[in-house]
């Protein structure tokens, strides 16, 4: 202990790392009343975006909405600092509409830093954490191969200058800083992202403590000087005219900003030839990198060599902010040497004379096998030690933020003696993300995708507040203000939906409306014969309520205004979407809900943490091992583990039943 007073170094919650996970974790813990400290190696790293300058996208946009609905900061922060906004997938249905915003990286960082500094109960330290303080539980036998046995409890952290901070709970969110190594061709540098200092000791200490650590890698493309690019050779990508904010708190705000554009260009055969000629110089191919990279975010040399029949790959040039002249070259990450990078980038239309201010690089880092985590994100090895973000094998700012928020909430739950918040797969993308990580594990940096969710129609971005805000309010992560807003919105949406369920107009108006929207306006999409059949159908159609009319694919809530003789309530864009989706997809939504009900029974059968799977007769060997390693919380979770068959699940159910009866007869 140094000259710090005992009081100064004692916290309820200590967060290691101030990236997207760390910020959410620290903020929510402090807001829920915990005395909290966040540690980072460099203040620059607070909410830093070391890779793409954007927030959201398919699946990711849903996560941001969910973070927001639970009282997190990401949505509010990007709403303050975006420079372009776009709703993706609008040609598809509302369940997969996804918001994405280009961020001003520097302002995003500044805003978050300001929020953290002004947060009550929350201290921010620029100091590297090099070790954990732990109490080890008496060990009957050394069972180091298994990571499911609780070995002890974390009680604090140690900084590189020898200070110790005691903590009731520690949340680790080290991102790509932990034992970070940067690769550019043959060049290998021990470094965190963007040239910031890495965390060099903690990874080894975690290994010594028995954490199952792994190496993952990811990459980022080159940054170029704005004025050295030729924009006439690229295709402009503008933002949406109508801006939809991320945060439910900003729903009624109108945004009138000058949006900046992104630019689209393509590689060509020359680019590919240069890359293939030099492929062995890539750090990926030289064998220097041992870490596993993500399939969904391959480097350009990966794309070119794996898909040799493709004669072009697209790339986007994206501004990193308003006060910087750095441009980000999305889709072109690489670990080739700098001279090769110069050569191949120069073959791309628009980039011929580009000045590269930072070359593309690959980065390798330590992370933990997420199978060693509980669904609460607490480690199975050490109590009161929570893990979030890239440390858990995920990738992406949004995935990190979501885990940080949940880890923060659950640290508070644990310290206040309450049950952890575990979101189900039918409740939130956050539930899908965490369940995938802790149940299935991952062999590459994990990215959320809407295809990973079984109940996509239920998990929409328009209804994230309806799914989660109530839960957050009960736990204490949602403010009174947000909750009141939510309730007001909910009642507005529900009463409008009710009105539409009973609203009708006279049959002639109804049929004329259908003729206009299903025939006249569809003329160029249909043959004369189809049109004629449709007209006949409409002439015989019986009158319908507005909610039934809405089920017709070509009719929108806006369209119905034409025949609506009531005074319509004033609704925000998001509220209108919610009303429309609720009614339009009612049948499908109910179908999915009944699927969920069927599985709920298994999800409500809990499995004891100390269940001895090896003693259960009838379980296959593989199932015994997997179940012992992963220790699922419920039978439902057990059924998703690969290697556990339906027959194994039946055996488990029988075992549980038997045990239950034996216990009952004992107490009787």
């Amino acid at each position: 202990m140094t000259n710090n007073s005992v009081n100064d170094s004692k916290y309820n919650v200590v967060v290691i790392g101030a990236g997207h996970a760390g910020c959410e974790a620290g903020l929510v813990a402090a807001r829920m009343g915990m005395k909290t400290a966040i540690f980072c190696t460099d203040l620059e790293s607070v909410a830093m975006m070391p890779c793409n300058p954007s927030i959201g996208g398919t699946g990711k946009g849903h996560l941001v909405r969910e973070i927001d609905a639970l009282g997190g900061e990401m949505g509010i922060n990007i709403d303050k600092t975006f420079i372009q906004s776009k709703m993706l997938n609008t040609s598809k249905g509302p369940a997969v509409h996804s918001l994405r915003a280009q961020a001003d990286k520097h302002r995003y960082h500044d805003e978050m830093l300001r929020t953290i500094r002004s947060q009550e109960n929350l201290d921010l330290f620029e100091a590297e954490i090099v070790d954990l303080i732990v109490i080890k539980y008496p060990d009957e036998e050394d069972d180091s191969s298994s990571f499911n046995k609780c070995k002890g409890k974390v009680t604090g952290v140690v900084t590189s200058d020898g200070r110790t901070f005691s903590a009731d709970a520690v949340i680790i969110c080290t991102g790509t800083f932990l034992s970070g190594k940067i690769f550019i061709g043959d060049d290998v540098t021990v470094s965190g992202p963007a040239g910031l200092p890495p965390s060099t000791h903690l990874g080894d200490e975690l290994r010594k403590l028995g954490f199952p650590m792994r190496r993952f890698k990811t990459g980022t493309p080159a940054r170029m000087l704005r004025d050295t690019l030729d924009y006439s050779a690229m295709k402009e990508q503008k933002g949406d005219e109508k801006i939809v904010p991320f945060s439910f708190m900003n729903e009624d705000k109108s945004y009138d900003i000058d949006q900046v554009s992104c630019w689209l260009s393509y590689t060509n055969e020359h680019t590919h030839k240069i890359i293939l000629d030099n492929i062995e110089k890539s750090a990926m191919y030289s064998g220097n990198i041992v870490g596993v990279g993500p399939r969904y975010c391959p480097s350009i040399e990966d794309k070119v060599s794996r898909f040799r029949d493709r004669n072009r790959h697209q790339l986007f040039v994206e501004p990193e902010g308003l006060d910087t002249d750095w441009m980000y070259i999305q889709g072109m990450s690489s670990s080739l040497p700098e001279d090769v990078q110069h050569a191949f980038y120069a073959t791309i239309p628009g980039l011929e004379h580009a000045v590269i201010v930072r070359p593309a690089y690959a980065i390798e880092y330590d992370c933990v096998d997420p199978l060693s985590l509980k669904p609460s994100l607490e480690s199975k090895l050490f109590e009161n030690f929570f893990c979030a973000g890239q440390f858990n094998g995920s990738s992406g700012y949004e995935e990190a933020g979501a885990q940080g928020l949940i880890a923060g909430i659950n640290a508070v739950m644990k310290l206040t003696g309450r049950d952890p918040l575990v979101l189900r797969r039918d409740q939130a993308y956050i539930g899908v993300l965490i369940d995938d990580l802790v149940t299935k594990g991952t062999n590459e940096p994990y990215r959320i995708m809407t295809s990973r969710a079984e109940y996509r129609l239920l998990l929409r971005q328009d209804n994230a507040d309806r799914r989660l805000t109530e839960i957050g309010y009960e736990l204490g992560s949602v403010t009174e203000e947000r909750y009141a807003r939510y309730l007001a919105k909910k009642s507005k949406v529900d009463s409008e939906a009710d009105r539409l369920r009973s609203k009708r107009v006279d049959i002639n108006t109804f049929r004329e409306f259908l003729l206009l929207h299903e025939c006249e306006l569809q003329k160029d999409k249909m043959t004369e014969e189809q049109l004629e059949r449709k007209r006949r159908d409409i002439a015989e159609t019986e009158n319908q309520s507005f909610s039934d009319i809405l089920r017709r694919p070509s009719i929108s809530y806006e369209d119905l205004a034409e025949i609506d003789d009531d005074t319509r309530p004033e609704l925000t864009a998001n509220e209108r979407t919610e009303v429309e989706v609720m009614l339009k997809y009612d049948g499908y939504i109910r179908k999915q809900k009944s699927e969920v009900e069927k599985l709920r029974k298994l999800e409500s059968k809990n499995l004891r943490e100390d269940l001895d799977y090896h003693s259960i007769r009838g379980l296959r060997l593989e199932a015994r091992q997997k179940l012992s390693d992963i220790r699922p919380r419920t039978v439902g979770q057990a059924s998703r583990i690969s290697g556990v068959s339906p027959a194994d699940i039946n055996v488990l159910l029988i075992y549980l039943e038997k045990e239950y009866r034996e216990n009952n007869s004992r107490t009787n």
Partner: protein, 476 residues
């Protein structure tokens, strides 16, 4: 709401009594649908005798059998849910018809039970006796080993390959859908783009789904061959009294190895006998409907005959060749003509007594029929056996059916899964055509993929994403 599940719960094979067991909230609805004499109040654990119909509310609906209905109210039942037992005559045919009527009842969420599912429910609802627990573990293990070996033998065969081929195509479609949803900004050169999802492109998604659908339907069509192999060929003998029907029937019964004695069949007025002729299982159905002259009864008889003929694999019409065709012959001929059955044998009998009926006369009405002229009494049993086995051999090339080479659906559960897949594919196609959003149509394709996977014991996991990443060059 929980599913209602149904299955034949008595041991397979012929027995005096067989049981169709149903568990779930729809039990009472099913009773109402099937019982011709539906009691005013249903006492649990009382046996109610009633004729069984596919739809008791409709007087025209076919009577399948007569059976005892026993209703057990939750939680006092084996599974802890409402349970209905329908105890019927033990013939496989009758039980299957009742099960089919339950499954086709149109009541929501009624489905075939998975193997071991009643027991599983019993456990879930805390109904299983403790002393049975250990024993059931062993049974379930044995079952899964068995189903494993069945799955293995099938996956080594053509059926597995066919299902896998169909699923591979669906997987590509799903990957195409996934990539379009999750990577909306990818290069259109790389992913299918909007063109792929428009319905006027045969190479597009609708065209591909139609191919898959027709593959599934082709498989479903083999089920009738599968049924014949399993349950025997249903042969209906028709004709007016004294034309020689009984001689034919008796000859076949005398010669054929009788498997069971008289089983009161689907209706009072038809009699079924199962025999094996030259190794081919045959169910003989004697239609007695034309025996009486009382008009009203005759009408009912003819209707029944018509129904029996509709479900026949082979119709044998016996005519008295020694006399001119009369009204009664014309009535039967008319029905058979209407039936338009492919598999039709006309026996012009009593050749020794004269030739008043010409082959041309018959052919004019029934051009597809095989026509034989003979004298059953004179030529006796060998002639009868030859007639029928030749007809069966010609019409159903059973010798060439080799289950190892052909995809024949013999399993009720497989059929169920195929039907499920068919329905979902149909739904997906019409959703895409009517402009429903991609992610909604995707659900139906996914369900179809899952259903097919259940046939070969594979369910969806990470395959779609793996295909996405191996097929498409994506990058952000």
């Amino acid at each position: 709401m929980a599913d209602t599940i149904a299955a034949i719960s008595s041991a397979p094979g012929e027995a005096g009594i067989g049981i169709v067991k149903i568990s779930g909230p729809a039990c009472k609805d099913i009773m109402k649908k099937l019982m011709v004499s539906f009691p005013e109040t249903i006492e649990p654990r009382h046996a109610y005798l009633s004729r069984v119909s596919r739809d008791a509310s409709s007087p025209d609906s076919e009577i399948i059998d007569e059976a005892l209905f026993i209703y057990m109210q939750a939680p006092n039942s084996y599974t802890g849910e409402d349970v209905l037992e329908i105890q019927a005559h033990g013939s496989n045919v009758a039980l299957k018809s009742i099960l089919q009527a339950v499954l086709d009842s149109g009541i929501e969420d009624v489905r075939m039970a998975e193997p071991g599912e009643f027991t599983k429910l019993a456990f879930l609802n805390g109904k299983m006796d403790l002393s049975q627990a250990e024993a059931v573990i062993d049974i379930i293990n044995a079952k899964s080993d068995l189903s494993l070996s069945i799955a293995e033998s099938q996956s080594a065969g053509r059926l597995g390959d066919t299902i896998r081929d169909i699923r591979d195509t669906l997987l590509d479609i799903l990957a195409e859908m996934a990539v379009n949803i999750d990577y909306p900004e990818e290069d259109e050169d790389e992913i299918g783009g909007d063109g792929f999802f428009s319905d006027d492109d045969d190479n597009g998604i609708v065209g591909q789904l139609r191919w898959v659908l027709s593959d599934v339907q082709t498989l479903m069509e083999t089920a009738s061959i599968g049924r014949i192999a399993r349950e025997g060929i249903r042969v209906v003998i028709a004709g007016k009294p004294n034309a020689g029907k009984s001689s034919l029937m008796n000859a076949l019964l005398g010669e054929g190895r009788v498997i069971v004695t008289d089983v009161p069949g689907t209706t009072r007025d038809t009699v079924e006998e199962s025999v094996s002729i030259n190794g081919v299982p045959i169910v003989l159905v004697d239609t007695a409907g034309l025996r009486t002259t009382d008009d009203k009864v005759e009408k009912i008889g003819i209707e029944r005959t018509e129904k029996a003929m509709a479900s026949a694999d082979l119709i044998i019409l016996v005519l008295d060749g020694s006399q001119d065709l009369d009204d009664k012959d014309d009535t039967v001929l008319g029905y058979i003509e209407k039936m338009n059955s492919e598999h039709l044998l006309v026996v012009i009998n009593k050749d020794d007594l004269g030739r008043s009926v010409s082959e041309e006369e018959v052919r004019a009405k029934l051009p597809q029929a095989t026509i034989v002229r003979t004298s059953l009494i004179e030529k006796g049993v060998p002639e009868a056996v030859k007639l029928v086995s030749n007809a069966v051999r010609d019409m159903y090339d059973l010798g060439s059916i080799n289950a190892k080479e052909m995809n024949i659906i013999t399993n009720e559960r497989h059929m169920r899964m195929l039907r499920n897949a068919e329905m979902n594919l149909d739904e997906a196609i019409s959703m895409i055509q009517s402009g429903e959003p991609l992610e909604v149509a995707e659900l139906s394709v996914h369900y179809a993929y899952d259903s097919l996977g259940k046939i070969i014991g594979e369910e969806v996991g990470e395959e779609v994403l793996n295909t996405v990443f191996s097929k498409f060059c994506l990058g952000k």
